[in-house]
Symmetry: C2
Subunit: 481 residues, 2 copies
């Protein structure tokens, strides 16, 4: 698949990064001589943070090419993303040139945060090819994209949604078109209010930021406005909440009905406060902090299968494919993943507990492969780990892509004895040896497995008995080599 | 310390829970016959989610008592928190009664989301005792509290800030008083905007929630509005951002300047959409989801030492105390903590990788105790784990308070051989045996430790040589008992 990115900058670069890391080839058109440097910086940020979001490796990265002409950029593309400055006449001109060279079946999407599709479509050669796909910075980490397909033909609309999902985005499809769509309407409201607070000297930019991230920002990372307020209403429900808090709308906060004048004095004040707050950090450093925090938040939500983390988990399932033992005459591939940013510790490498996290996930995958899957577990049986031995032979770092190869040392009766090799580019970085016991989840006591787990496990153990016994198996801590 | 909670409900109950779990005794006054049940439900939610937020155990829970009279409730209290309904006359009456019975040195704080201190202080016997301390739901998880001490005497202001910090809250001290303080001004702006979007049929409550939690809600959980926009401005900075996006304020979004009428039709629509979105879950189930998500987000940020997680880490340091070996003739206490909500896996108990997370933290603590602390590591040396053996003897569950007792099996030359017992109420649930190697962080190769680590480690190893060798030491995976 090919994505054409028209207009670089932070947003265009973010789109380029997402498509590229999801395996698409990407062509970029931007006449700015600085465009290549800027886009590559964004892509580097993405390479650092995005692969480790998932518990499965991303596809092989696509090819990136900078083009000299619009026609070169869009010919044969499956997706065209326009992210040029927010000037309607400029955008309309771009579409006329693009439509002269692209297929009518290609989605032609605008990153505009303000214009409606009908604004963009008028004057176009084929208006019904144009949609709004408004993303949020950083585009390579945040799943939200507002997809407004009003006025587009249904093939384009269907294809747009499917492509966005394929690259891991959450398309919020809006049935009505309005200026600034939905999210930016909410952001604009907060922005105006925040400007008043700064202008009136009630709070500094830093205090406003703390008021958000120490409080409701945490709530909004996992539930939105209405679900949060539904809870506030208690058992009496949303209606009760509205009855209780609705009257606040009539309070005499008359300033809320006005817009502050963004004059030089206010601009000076905001710029100075922002410098005091964050001026000791470069934008690059701030971006890295932001991305590391977002990875930590998203991975936390992913484990909970909640909000944006639930969306990640769904996408991940499509990346990892169905569990399959494959060729049982060799060790089984039970994991393939990148090391996340937030797994690094004070020694500058992957923390030891994360090795067991990787091995535990590999064991889970092996269990699925032999039939001890979610349905089997829901029916009341599972394996518990009784004993583990880990050897560290090298160091893993954030971003490393690693695989786990699993040998079944025995699988008789209630026991399952596994040996994992954690491999990076052919080198074994660590091994994990694990004894698991089959249990009843009701009694929490050991018991023999049930068909077909019993037979499948025996078959794998039998096939693996022909392999060399792994070097590190059966060793104790401190044993001489 | 004693906290008096006047007015139960979700906010009063949240305050009660936070004080209680931070070791304060709590007295509650609320004439509602349902108050006790409601408050205990909130406290149960807090007991489930809050202790595991920290990597150190919370203090022993205080005593909870429901009082019949206001005078009984406030006599001798160190903090009085008023959370009665938002009616000014009612609040003023409460203060008059309270001040007849409480010490003038006690902080008398209101949870009001709308009133200014001066509103509350007028008609009071001692106006300068009254402050606003406006928290956010769930009070036991979100650190933010808006502290407005305008009109209060300086002793009260100082004490208010110190007490709030002692119970883990982040007091945002506002120097100016305005209706609705800061955070609720921002929330009110979003709320009005969201009502328009629903009323105009642009988006449903669920779509608005997704627009938040899939996008800017994730950003705001770790940076606020201004720091996020500073990044959007790029290297050109905040001034550039303002120049670029300021004009949006003048766009013809005239509706933003008006307030929608919250009539029956709009209430019906919101209630119906909210039922469609979340009606399949009870409020209790939603609360649990919210709390589990917040724990996951906060713990992610805590590892990064960022935002609310940085605040948690600071508070945790005061809970855990300074590292100290204590009596070296016995195993060393290297961890004491509650098991977090988000550590549970599909088997309904603590995931195996988290055992190593606990053991790794215990090893870190032991390293600090022998002098291999942050300064030693910053100077270029550390220990790497080479090998680990874990035995599971029982099951841990979310909320369990566990300890780690560490025996040093040897500490000669470059090696450090540790044995951890993970203990819950006297029962050993798991053991961890670890071989660590002292390294240069520059060469990444082994080397002997430096004074005083060398000597301290030898002393501990010598003292521990007199102890019985731990039962599980030196065993390999699958060895018969």
């Amino acid at each position: 698949m090919i994505a054409a990115i028209i207009g670089g900058g932070v947003i265009g670069g973010g789109w380029a990064a997402r498509f590229l890391l999801m395996g698409w080839d990407v062509r970029v058109f931007d006449p700015d001589p600085e465009a290549e440097r800027k886009i590559v910086e964004v892509i580097d940020n993405a390479r650092r943070s995005m692969p480790g979001l998932y518990d499965a490796a991303l596809p092989v990265e696509g090819a990136l090419r900078f083009c000299e002409t619009l026609s070169d950029t869009v010919a044969g593309a499956d997706w065209i993303q326009e992210s040029v400055p927010e000037r309607l006449e400029l955008k309309r001109k771009v579409y006329q040139q693009v439509q002269a060279h692209c297929s009518p079946d290609t989605v032609l999407a605008s990153s505009t945060s303000g214009f409606k599709p009908s604004d963009l479509q008028s004057c176009a050669t084929r208006p019904d090819q144009i949609v709004v796909a408004h993303p949020f910075n950083p585009v390579y980490l945040l799943p939200l994209v507002e997809l407004v397909t009003v006025g587009a033909n249904s093939d384009i609309a269907v294809r747009a949604k499917a492509h966005l999902k394929a690259v891991g985005m959450f398309p919020l499809v809006l049935e009505a078109e309005i200026d600034a769509h939905v999210a930016d309407r909410l952001l604009e409201a907060v922005w105006r209010e925040a400007l008043w607070l700064v202008k009136d000297g009630v709070a500094t930019t830093e205090e406003i930021d703390e008021a958000i991230r120490m409080g409701f920002g945490l709530r909004w990372a996992q539930m939105g406005l209405f679900e949060t307020y539904r809870i506030a209403g208690g058992e009496a429900g949303m209606r009760h909440f509205l009855a209780q808090f609705g009257p606040a709308l009539k309070w005499p906060w008359t300033k809320l009905m006005d817009v502050p004048d963004l004059d030089d004095a206010l601009i000076d004040r905001i710029a100075a406060q922002s410098d005091a707050q964050s001026g000791h950090l470069s934008i690059r450093a701030l971006e890295r902090q932001r991305d590391e925090n977002l990875v930590a938040i998203l991975r936390g939500l992913r484990r909970r299968n909640a909000g944006a983390g639930g969306w990640l988990a769904q996408h991940e399932a499509t990346l990892a494919g169905a569990p399959s033992l494959g060729d049982v005459t060799r060790p089984i591939l039970t994991a393939r993943r990148a090391i996340p940013l937030d797994w690094t510790d004070y020694n500058g490498h992957m923390n030891e507990a994360r090795y067991l996290e990787v091995f535990a996930a590999a064991t889970d995958r092996f269990m699925e492969m032999i039939g001890c899957d979610a349905a089997y577990i829901a029916a009341g049986h599972s394996y518990f780990t009784a004993e583990t031995h880990i050897r560290h032979l090298g160091e893993c770092h954030a971003g490393d892509v690693v695989e786990v190869r699993t040998t079944c040392l025995s699988g008789d009766g209630k026991k399952m004895h596994l040996f994992h090799d954690l491999v990076r580019q052919g080198d074994c970085i660590a091994t994990g040896e694990h004894m698991l016991i089959h249990v009843s989840l009701e009694t929490r006591k050991s018991c023999p497995p049930i068909s077909p787990v019993t037979e499948t496990l025996k078959d794998v153990a039998k096939a693996h008995a022909a392999l060399d016994r792994p070097d590190g198996a059966g060793r104790f801590v401190g044993q001489g080599r």
